[in-house]
């Protein structure tokens, strides 16, 4: 079963390519952990032109990652102690704390322990913009997914959707309009 709500791939005259590109898309999106953030996905490829396009709708924006999301914050001595549970964002966390409290007021006595000398709790400070990271990863995934020779690309990221087109020849406004029309047709089918 597809993990996406709607997942359509169309490539006129290339039944095998259609089937295989479903697998490639899912493999790459799963490898990069992007599947859960995408709700609907429409892929249209015309090899006689040739071009390859993907249109997708996001499931909703990801909230920013706060200090309390990656560790347990507790009052200790003159300030607060953070016990880090998710080491993936540890470097970002240290950078943010340095910026907010200054290097002299932040210490790391152990690999996963940080202490901050401050009167305000650091629990609600944003550490990373997950939504921006997700969009960067998605762009990387789309470049990997598109056939390799299609090196003229356009990537349009909006609040709730994205549109990517790649072609061998120069992209023209007529080509882009044609692809948009095809994808609209797939959505309404």
């Amino acid at each position: 079963m597809d993990p996406l709500e709607v997942f359509k791939v169309e490539a006129p005259g290339e039944e095998y390519g259609e089937k295989k590109y479903r697998e490639i898309l899912l493999d790459i999106l799963q490898d990069l952990g992007l599947v859960r953030s995408i709700g609907r996905l429409y892929v249209y490829a015309d090899i006689s032109k040739p071009y390859f396009a993907v249109f997708g709708l996001f499931r909703g924006a990801l909230p920013p990652l706060l200090v309390r999301d990656i560790g347990d914050v507790a009052a200790a001595g003159d300030g607060f102690q953070i016990k880090v549970n998710d080491e993936e964002h540890l470097a970002d966390l240290v950078r943010v704390l340095w910026e907010r409290y200054g290097r002299d007021n932040v210490e790391q006595p152990d690999r996963d322990i940080l202490t901050v000398i401050s009167k305000d709790s650091p629990a609600d400070i944003p550490v990373a913009d997950l939504d921006r990271e997700f969009r960067q990863d998605l762009t990387d995934a789309l470049i990997r997914i598109a056939p390799e020779g299609f090196r003229n690309r356009m990537n349009e990221m909006k609040e709730d959707s994205f549109f990517f087109i790649a072609a061998e020849e120069t992209l023209t406004s007529e080509m882009i309009a044609e692809v948009r029309e095809k994808i609209r047709g797939m959505m309404n089918a």
Binding site: G13, E14, G17, K20, E23, I24, I28, P147, G149, E168
Partner: protein, 307 residues
């Protein structure tokens, strides 16, 4: 008639196998030691196979036929980018290696796209130094068919792989087309995927058999393993080459991984028991691969004798 086999067993007493191979008049093509295990690629006279099998059994080793041993196969992809590597090109190269072939990956500089794909003279020459090659393409029929010019000037048999079923007539320059092996982005581990890799190995095997039959019509003056043995003995520098396989065998010669300018005279002067020099019975020229030494043994029709 020499049979290619692969011995896998413990390092302990594996030298007995090597000694036996020498005594039987066979050849050791390659030796790989991985911690406590050793893998030997051997050529053994067919009649003496039971003797070797008995010793392998005694040493608790495994002896399997390696039909592609003593050959070099190029695995050619449109580029060496993430679209082709590590899956599926590495899977194919590794599978060919397991069957005894020496496989080399070749990524073309400008092989991508449907209309813009091209191959240059250097790449063509490099692929032509192999015994056979596998061109790996993607999942779209049109792209696979239109990439024919990439391998039109290749003289060795070309096995083309791709996803969809395509009639062979649409690819006049290919030796064989193997379907169901298009672009994939996961490791080949399911039974049907492994079966597809087996089909590629079988196709390469058939291509090499054809090349062997062609050679048999006008036999080589001497066999490539004999050249390898003589070079190993008389040009000791080859033993200190950093390549995992200092002498790579081809069906009609070998590639010696020493710099051409420095060592081609020494290789040319290698003498056989019958008194002939290698330079007299073979063409020795620089290889397109890192300017190594490429030896191409002349056929009987050119030299007038076989040793």
């Amino acid at each position: 008639m020499l049979d290619p086999v692969m011995y896998t067993g413990g390092v302990y007493k594996h030298d007995l196998i090597m000694e036996l191979v020498e005594d039987l008049g066979g050849y050791l093509l390659q030796k790989n030691v991985t911690q406590s295990e050793v893998i030997l690629l051997l050529l053994i006279p067919s009649d003496d196979m039971p003797i070797l099998a008995a010793l392998a059994k005694e040493l608790r080793g495994e002896l399997v036929r390696a039909p592609l041993a003593g050959t070099e196969v190029a695995v050619v992809t449109p580029t060496l980018a993430i679209h082709h590597l590590p899956h599926s090109a590495c899977d194919v190269a590794e599978y060919l290696r397991r069957h005894g072939a020496k496989s080399n990956m070749v990524g073309l500089a400008r092989g991508v796209g449907r209309e813009i794909a091209q191959i240059n003279e250097y790449e063509t020459d490099l692929v032509n130094e192999h015994d056979a090659c596998v061109f790996m393409f993607g999942n779209f029929v049109q792209c696979i068919v239109e990439k024919g010019p990439l391998y039109r000037n290749i003289n060795v048999p070309v096995v083309v792989t791709g996803g969809p079923e395509i009639p062979k007539e649409k690819m006049p320059y290919a030796f064989e087309y193997v379907s169901s092996v298009g672009r994939i982005s996961h490791r080949s581990k399911k039974a049907n995927e492994l079966a597809n890799l087996d089909r590629i190995v079988a196709a390469v095997g058939r291509a090499l058999d054809r090349a062997r039959r062609d050679i048999e019509k006008d036999p080589l003056t001497t066999s490539p393993p004999r050249v390898m043995d003589a070079v190993r003995e008389q040009v000791p520098e080859v033993q200190s080459s950093f390549s995992p396989l200092p002498i790579a065998l081809n069906l009609n010669g070998c590639r010696i991984k020493l710099p051409y300018d420095e060592f081609h005279q020494a290789v040319s002067d290698v003498t056989f028991d019958e008194g002939m020099r290698l330079g007299d019975i073979a063409t020795i020229r620089p290889s397109r691969m890192k300017r190594y030494i490429l030896v191409r043994i002349k056929p009987e029709s050119e030299t007038g004798f076989v040793i």
